[in-house]
């Protein structure tokens, strides 16, 4: 068990050094959760070059569109598991502020999405027939103990995180999924089959 994909990724996620690029190698084993439909033939592509920069991670697969199958792509931005999602808002003790790293990732994702959905070159490279099949996946950042930076009681921290999470969803709805690296880790768990009773 000590050499399993799960254990290797877990070591990287809880390392004190930032291991974003090494963690990225494990995303292909969790491609189903990153391709946000029920799909087949799911493949991954890293650092697709665009005019506004390199999109970190693209997941492409066969999905079902309006009445027929289609190829769809989901764009993801990656930040290290060691980074924080939210920080204390100095102007109010009762709310959090998105971390600089989260804001940077959101801005990158929005810009890559804006560019790639209209890029004929990008769509033809992957066989995507319509711009609406280029979709925002989300941002993978942080881990269970880096949700909030700041010295505060656990209950208060959890309450403020919940509020920040809800406020963010009001704005983005579920279009940009905010994902901790722990989600990727959970996808690497082996299936636990029980014996028949």
């Amino acid at each position: 068990m000590s050499n399993s994909l799960y254990d290797k990724l877990r070591t990287l996620i809880y390392d004190t050094k930032q291991r974003e690029h090494e963690c990225r190698e494990y995303l292909k084993y969790a491609a189903d959760v990153l391709f946000r439909d029920g799909g087949t033939e799911i493949k991954c592509d890293v650092e697709y070059r665009g005019h506004s920069g390199d999109s970190d991670f693209i997941v492409i697969g066969r999905a079902h569109g309006s009445g027929s199958d289609c190829i769809r792509a989901y764009l993801w931005e990656l930040k290290a598991p060691q980074l924080f999602l939210f920080v204390e808002d100095k102007s109010s003790a009762n709310r959090l502020f998105p971390s600089k790293d989260l804001l940077e990732a959101e801005n990158q994702l929005l810009n890559y999405y804006d560019e790639l959905r209209d890029s004929v070159e990008f769509r033809s490279e992957f066989g995507i027939t319509h711009p609406s099949n280029v979709c925002m996946g989300g941002i993978i950042i942080g881990r269970d103990n880096t949700k909030v930076k700041g010295d505060m009681e656990v209950d208060k921290r959890d309450g403020l995180y919940e509020k920040a999470f809800r406020c963010r969803n009001l704005f983005y709805r579920s279009e940009i999924r905010l994902m901790l690296w722990n989600t990727i880790l959970d996808q690497l768990l082996p299936p636990k089959l029980e014996e028949r009773g």
């Binding site: 029920g38 799909g39 959970d186 996808q187 299936p191 028949r196």
Partner: protein, 174 residues
């Protein structure tokens, strides 16, 4: 967010992840997902949430169970206030797959922060109205706790559905 809003989002998620998918995925899916009248059925308790995929007949059966026994799946999850034998205890367990089980006692003692997939499960349980027996084609169970709360339920459910698809496609679980 109220439960009715979350229920609607769950229905959208089920459509996207499990029901509206390419034809070549069908061979991997549990038969219930391919039935023309398949529909999501949700049940909330203070401590957990169940999403079952059911046909019209099963939906009627579940509604009758709620009226008769106070729960759509009597015996599947042991209520905290009752004592009795339990087949399995789970706590802080993610992406558990419980397949092809059959039990005549409480099936699960459900702790906090669990996400489970129950498939092809036969449940038999003695009630104050006699012994009942039923079959669960496919159900996703999420228990609330320190990490999982109603506000982030949808994400955990999404992850659980993705995990089930991954395992079914791998052929590991038939």
């Amino acid at each position: 967010m109220d439960r009715a809003t979350i229920d609607q989002q769950v229905r959208d998620l089920v459509k996207r992840r499990l029901l509206r998918n390419p034809l070549d995925l069908h061979k991997y899916l549990p038969p219930i997902l391919l039935k023309p009248d398949v529909t999501p059925f949700t049940y909330w308790s203070d401590n957990y949430f169940i999403l079952a995929l059911v046909d019209n007949d099963k939906k009627r059966e579940l509604k009758k169970n709620i009226t008769a026994y106070g729960h759509p799946f009597p015996g599947l999850i042991k209520p905290e206030h009752l004592s009795g034998s339990v087949a399995m205890r789970v706590e802080n367990s993610r992406n558990g797959m419980l397949d092809h089980n059959s039990t005549n006692m409480f099936f699960l003692s459900l702790g906090k922060d669990c996400t489970l997939i129950v498939r092809d499960h036969t449940q038999k349980i003695k009630t104050n109205r006699g012994v009942i027996k039923y079959f669960v084609d496919l159900a996703y169970i999420v228990s609330f706790g320190y990490e999982i709360k109603p506000y982030n339920l949808l994400n955990y459910l999404d992850d659980l559905m993705a995990y089930s698809l991954k395992q079914w496609k791998s052929g590991y679980v038939k």
